[in-house]
Point group: C2
Chain length 300, copies 2
């Protein structure tokens, strides 16, 4: 029996929601197919991810799950990786969560969503040396998710009333060990006044999404702690955000650990203006880029 | 012409909402009546607040407002102060906001709510040496309020769907310069991990109030930054909260800068258990106290 599952790309953080919020979008997807084999081993078939299960996000997740559930079986994992790696689009979380969903179905494990997030996280260890549930929560729940606890892993889906369209500005930058580097730039200590401002903006942004208020999202989605600390890595971000706001985007933020920029748009936004403005700004930095227009994925 | 306005007591912070959230309740109220006099001076009549306008929260607020609006008039301000002082119940904000509302009406100033919050804040300078909009925002808006900006002052009313009953446990403690002391105990720098946990809990608590979810409020209304830092001032708080949770309260927090404890209850809560539990705990600390049961004030 073959079972195929997919997980979409996602953007973690959303400005003031560092390490707690994530949003699924239809821009890219990973498809993972699993099938039992009679070798007793996990084998990975993929054109563009590591075939060593111990170095593969999906492989690591299933190894841990099989260990905990005492399932001894050979498994072929075929990964059709569509989410590009290293761009802040939740690539590692996508293949591991798709693999966990498929495995859960194949062996009738009846895992809860949070258990699936937990196992999918093991994949993150392969990708960036540490595990964090934000992107993988998107791959399991879809929509907008809030991490309410990491030990144990607990996730809340947020039923948002305002669903803007999305534009992903994806600069062609590859940074060695980017996630690790980007995380190391975040200050370890925060001034209490900055924390108060951050909590205020986060609250306003959440109100905006929950009540369907454009202006509240616009005013709230600003982060002078984490995004600011990464300015050296993504010096073009401030200019692009400011240009997008001028073109009446709802708001913009760095997608996960970057370099992708997530722009929220609606019918009032001058999208052509953003496209030409991006070209001008990234041209100045000598960067190639792609722009992908997409939508929020509500669920799986 | 005499104009009378009132403002109710309030509780700022609500656990993880330090310096951004506040909630109005019907437990106590200040009534302020103003009337023009022909002395050209501001005179204050009150049994239990300073009669020097420069030391009186309502007086300071009206002085600033008259200065900005170039209103030269004698004003008698009669304050019937019902909100007890120094207990974390928004006492200073109550009389200043009531005075500003009355003055706004008398002179047809058409101040916006945020302008009224701004002027009411001047009263806080008299009360605690610095101005903060949280409690005064309650006196102007009612219900639950979010401070979205301090310069300029911007406040958002939060339309909450879940409206628990309230119990105020008011220990009979007078602490000299309590608000200043309580603020000085809050750490100046916060570990980023603590900030992430705080933002996660705050988000969950807001979801709970907005969506009407008891358990989300219960899980979210926990603060290990500000409340923890004030443990030395209110060593009984942890025990009372834990006892209240055991008696199935929705949650509990320190009201403003304390010492009052705000307990959220509903039909599932064993209120008699909380009453006797409080007696036992505060008895151990040799403290007299009052318990007031009350409701949220939705607006003015």
């Amino acid at each position: 029996m073959k079972i195929k599952e997919l997980s979409y790309s996602s953007s973690a953080n959303l400005g003031p929601g560092y390490d707690i919020l994530s949003l699924s979008h239809r821009a890219f997807k990973d498809e993972v197919e699993i099938e039992e084999n009679n070798t007793g081993k996990i084998r990975i078939f993929s054109d563009n991810t590591p075939e060593d299960p111990m170095k593969n996000t999906a492989g690591l997740s299933l190894i841990q799950l099989m260990k905990d559930r005492k399932i001894k079986s050979g498994i072929d994992i075929t990964i059709n990786k569509g989410v590009p790696v290293g761009l802040g689009l939740g690539s590692s979380g996508a293949s591991s969560s798709a693999a966990v969903k498929a495995f859960n179905k194949m062996f009738d494990l009846n895992l809860t969503n949070d258990e699936m997030v937990y196992y999918s996280m093991y994949g993150e260890i392969a990708a960036c040396g540490s595990a964090h549930p934000d992107n993988v929560s998107s791959g399991i729940y879809g929509g907008m998710t809030l991490i309410t606890s990491t030990e144990p892993v607990r996730v809340r889906k947020i039923d948002i009333k305002y669903k803007p369209h999305l534009m992903l500005v994806i600069p062609d930058i590859k940074i060695e060990e980017k996630t690790k580097l980007a995380r190391s730039m975040v200050p370890k200590n925060i001034d209490i006044k900055d924390m108060v401002r951050q909590t205020s903006r986060l609250s306003l942004m959440l109100l905006g999404f929950l009540n369907g208020e454009r202006q509240a999202i616009r005013d709230g989605m600003n982060d002078e702690i984490v995004e600011k600390s990464r300015n050296g890595l993504f010096p073009f971000y401030g200019e692009i955000k400011s240009m997008a706001i001028d073109e009446n985007a709802v708001s913009a933020c760095i997608s996960g650990a970057g370099p992708t920029i997530l722009i929220f748009t609606d019918e009032r936004t001058n999208k052509n203006g953003i496209i030409s403005g991006t070209d001008e700004i990234l041209g100045k930095y000598g960067l190639n880029y792609k722009i992908v227009e997409t939508e929020i994925v509500e669920g799986y």
